[in-house]
């Protein structure tokens, strides 16, 4: 590696083969220098994960695609701020989560809250729910399990769904969820408890329908 006229090491441009075999860190460094092909490789590697997160929060394919795309554009614009404190995939996931939360808050302001959502916010509903004693997902095939959970998640308010997604899929701790959602740890615990209990009840209902 030589030095350029300014005394900095010169960096050879990557070849197509280099991109596919390079690790994320090398690609990020190349992208930070303005190498768009390196960024394209990062998009290709992480696009499913970013989309999955957007979809789990939005429950709408089109919106999830749009927000995933927006997250990648923002990722490119903020790439210089990425300090490798977390993995690139985690950093990108945080971006898409924040975009989804902004979008969901906007949507919430625009629509009238459902009675159920108001019940959830006032709290206490989950305390009266009977405990689901039989595992409602036992013996289900993976595709069927996914379909049922997808349906049940779609029936939760976005606050409850998001807490569940951040805890179960992103493996965030309570305090991290509280920081991300701008609420207290107590609220996170309460929402998570409701979301889990409601999900169990919805899955139990679906199992009962099978038996009838």
């Amino acid at each position: 590696m030589g030095l350029n006229s300014h005394g900095f090491p010169t960096v050879e441009p990557m070849t197509v083969k280099d991109y596919s075999s390079a690790d994320d860190q090398s690609l990020v460094r190349a992208a930070q220098r303005g190498d768009m092909a390196a960024f394209e490789e990062l998009v290709a590697r992480h696009r499913d994960r970013i989309y999955a997160r957007a979809y789990s929060m939005m429950r709408n394919e089109e919106e999830a695609i749009d927000l995933a795309q927006e997250a990648w554009v923002k990722g490119w614009q903020r790439l210089r701020q990425f300090q490798s404190e977390s993995s690139f995939g985690t950093w990108m996931t945080r971006i898409v989560i924040n975009l989804c939360l902004d979008q969901l808050r906007k949507q919430k302001r625009q629509r009238t809250e459902s009675i159920e959502a108001l019940d959830e916010e006032s709290g206490g509903v989950e305390r009266q729910m009977p405990v689901v004693t039989v595992n409602p997902t036992a013996g289900l095939e993976r595709a069927e399990l996914r379909r049922r959970i997808d349906r049940a998640l779609g029936q939760l308010s976005y606050e409850h769904r998001t807490v569940l997604v951040l805890h179960e899929f992103e493996e965030m701790e309570y305090k991290e969820i509280a920081r991300t959602m701008g609420c207290s740890i107590g609220t996170v615990m309460s929402r998570l408890f409701y979301a889990r209990r409601k999900l169990a009840a919805l899955l139990a209902d679906l199992k009962k329908q099978d038996l009838v």
């Binding site: 695609i65 554009v73 490119w76 305390r127 805890h167 408890f193 889990r196 169990a200």
Partner: protein, 168 residues
């Protein structure tokens, strides 16, 4: 089982309960059937969600998805249309346009005076000229080599007329 105990049980399952409470919760689960049933339900739900996202795929090809991102990045790189003027700038413009117009009239008047007025200027004298229509006065000190143009807006004559009119 009260609500606080239920939330503590959940925190225990999530590994977020402090150590002394953890031991206490483990003991409680041995003797409290209701707490044990709730713990089982919460565990089942967690297990049902585990690994659920592994198969989720973006329903667009790599090329198509990237082409949309790239187009957006290129669009953001090209300079956009000029931004609309800020309100402050607009206010300054409202003030500057008439002021510069008046200054221009004064300047033209001064030129006309110097070239067509036929005035012989001697060194060290001071002159005062009034341009009735524009309300502009010019003072020139040849000894000092300085010219001062006084502009009044609206023209002082008009203002005077207005005043007279008001008195009447």
């Amino acid at each position: 089982m009260d609500y606080d105990a239920q939330l503590k049980l959940q925190a225990w399952l999530d590994g977020e309960l402090p150590e002394p409470d953890t031991r206490e919760m483990a003991k409680r689960l041995e003797r409290d059937a209701e707490a044990a049933a709730l713990a089982r339900e919460l565990r089942n739900t967690r297990q049902a969600l585990a690994g659920l996202e592994a198969d989720v795929r973006l329903p667009e090809s790599r090329e198509f998805f990237w082409s949309k991102i790239e187009r957006e990045l290129r669009r953001l790189e090209t300079p956009g249309p000029e931004r609309a003027s800020s309100p402050l700038l607009a206010r300054w413009r409202r003030f500057l346009v008439p002021a510069s117009g008046i200054a221009l009239v004064g300047f033209v008047g001064l030129l006309a005076l110097q070239q067509g007025g036929g005035l012989r200027l001697s060194g060290g004298t001071e002159m005062e000229t009034t341009l009735a229509d524009t309300g502009a006065f010019t003072y020139r000190d040849y000894s000092a080599g300085a010219t001062l143009v006084w502009l009044s807006y609206p023209a002082e004559d008009e203002a005077a007329d207005d005043e007279v009119g008001i008195v009447e």
